[in-house]
């Protein structure tokens, strides 16, 4: 009788001490079994489970910190190159103007993205802009194709625009970017794709936390001539004397091909910088999240440990007093 009363007493004391509402991170893995036990007050949650979870979160935190450092060092290396290459496309824009709203029959959208993931939202942004440009330039008698650089954009665009993809290049960042490689790539694209206007979509590196989606337009020589005759921005082109080459169209062709390779070079460098910057911030927020999670888990662990000690003490004491009394 007294023992039953004391046992009931013990249960009533034990139950509120053990946390009846385990916190979120534990809910998924510990699930129902531990909650039942806590509510009945028989045995506490095993500290081993919490300790395992803490170990894995700590490992994740270390890995993401290391990835952030790696991205930071890669960013430093490539950033000076990107800033130096910014002067390259400016003469072309000064001469030929910037005509994103040009109306042509054959549009080719060149999307630049990264091969590796874990870099935040920049690849999705590039794909969204590319899809937007596709929609903008769709219409009767107009066609719009994609040329994709990088695995991530390919994976996203293959899902709904598979028939519009002309070319796809991957593994471009195995060797550090240099102009010769980009020139060969540009040559490949120009030879295999029929185009009136090439629209290059990339993320411009503004600062370590800011990346601006940008699109540059390169027109084919025929369209340049057509726009020059029509007037507007390119109207002054006719006033330029042409030196070298036999005909004006030959020089214009060389000019547009050169423009494409220069703009591509700058775009690829800027996109690579944006990728590293985005990866740095993504890994940084991931380490911070892991740190927060670790703090919460530590609190749970301590509470669990203390609760189990208290339960043991109660059992011992009630057992001892039951024996005496």
């Amino acid at each position: 009788m007294a023992m039953a009363a004391l046992r009931r007493e013990g249960r009533r004391i034990a139950a509120p001490l053990i946390n009846p509402h385990p916190i979120n991170p534990l809910r998924s893995s510990l699930a129902s079994s531990d909650r039942e036990h806590t509510l009945l007050g028989v045995r506490s949650i095993s500290t081993q489970v919490v300790r395992n979870r803490m170990k894995s979160v700590r490992n994740i935190q270390k890995i993401t910190k290391a990835m952030k450092m790696v991205a930071a060092s890669k960013l430093r290396a490539i950033q000076t190159k990107a800033e130096n290459s910014r002067g390259l496309w400016q003469p072309f824009t000064a001469l030929l103007g910037d005509t994103p709203s040009v109306d042509v029959k054959k549009n080719v959208i060149v999307t630049i993205s990264s091969d590796k993931g874990l870099c935040g939202g920049i690849n999705s942004t590039s794909v969204k802009i590319s899809r937007g440009l596709h929609k903008l330039n769709a219409g009767p008698e107009k066609e719009c194709k994609y040329v994709i650089l990088g695995e991530k954009a390919k994976a996203q665009l293959v899902r709904d625009s598979k028939k519009d993809i002309e070319l796809a290049f991957t593994e471009l960042q195995k060797n550090p970017l240099n102009y010769t490689q980009v020139a060969v790539l540009a040559d490949d694209i120009l030879k295999n794709v029929e185009y009136d206007a090439l629209r290059i979509v990339f993320n411009k590196f503004q600062s370590v936390v800011a990346f601006v989606p940008t699109t540059s337009t390169v027109l084919s020589p025929e369209v340049v001539e057509r726009e020059a005759e029509a007037g507007g921005k390119l109207g002054e082109l006719d006033s330029y004397e042409i030196e070298g080459g036999e005909t004006k169209s030959e020089v214009l062709q060389n000019l547009t091909e050169f423009q494409f390779s220069c703009v591509m070079f700058n775009a690829m460098l800027e996109n690579a910088c944006s990728e590293q910057g985005a990866r740095m911030s993504a890994m940084d927020s991931s380490s911070r999240n892991a740190g927060d999670m670790l703090d919460r888990l530590t609190l749970t662990y301590n509470r669990t440990r203390q609760a189990s000690i208290t339960t043991e003490l109660i059992e011992i004491i009630s057992g001892a007093s039951a024996l005496e009394g």
Partner: protein, 203 residues
């Protein structure tokens, strides 16, 4: 001696943090007429996403054509790897166009010139700086701004004459033994560049 320690560390740390601060690019968000047409068209079709920026938003606008001929020529020499001269005011430049060396003075008629490998000389007062260009394009605008875009440009005093002679002999040999058109074209380019280098060193 111990007191210099913290100062050294502090300067290193501030240099590292200065490195991060340097990254804010001075982008001028100016929208020109062509852009607004694009922005409007975009907003009609895709209202939820912001339109992408275009290169003219990142460029300082060029000066308009003055009514009188200015006294100096503004030269920009850019390479993929760096801008060697940007906005430099000079008296004259001589560019190696495919039709021969062309002198550009302030007030020169607007020209687009294709360049062959050769020497670019920049004259400012009594200073003449010579660069060997690997080829590219030169634009002279009506507002006396000259843009020269090349793939490689080295100051002439950094060229090694022995290597030039060796390269010339090698490419001439390749030209003689070339079988396919592609090989012949490549060897011809090599010979052209090296003979231009040779002329640059001697001339």
């Amino acid at each position: 001696m111990l007191r210099h320690g913290p100062r050294f560390l502090l300067s290193r740390a501030s240099a590292a943090s200065m490195g991060w601060r340097r990254q804010f690019a001075t982008d001028l968000p100016a929208e020109t007429a062509g852009d607004s047409k694009f922005v409007e068209a975009w907003k009609k079709v895709i209202p939820n996403i912001d339109p992408p920026k275009t290169p003219s938003a990142y460029m300082a606008p060029r000066p308009p054509t003055p009514s009188t001929i200015p006294s100096k020529l503004t030269v920009n020499l850019v390479l993929p790897y760096s801008s060697i001269l940007s906005g430099k005011e000079v008296d004259m430049v001589i560019v190696p166009a495919t039709t021969g060396h062309m002198g550009v003075l302030p007030g020169h008629v607007a020209t687009i010139a294709e360049l062959k490998p050769g020497i670019l000389s920049v004259h400012e007062g009594n200073d003449v700086s010579k660069y060997f260009l690997s080829g590219g394009f030169a634009f002279v605008h009506a507002n006396s701004v000259a843009d020269i875009i090349a793939i490689e440009a080295t100051p002439v005093d950094q060229i090694d004459p022995n290597l030039v002679q060796k390269g010339l002999a090698e490419f001439q040999q390749k030209l003689n033994s070339a079988s396919t058109d592609v090989e012949k074209a490549e060897a011809q380019i090599g010979v052209d560049v090296h003979s231009a280098l040779n002329a640059a060193l001697t001339g």
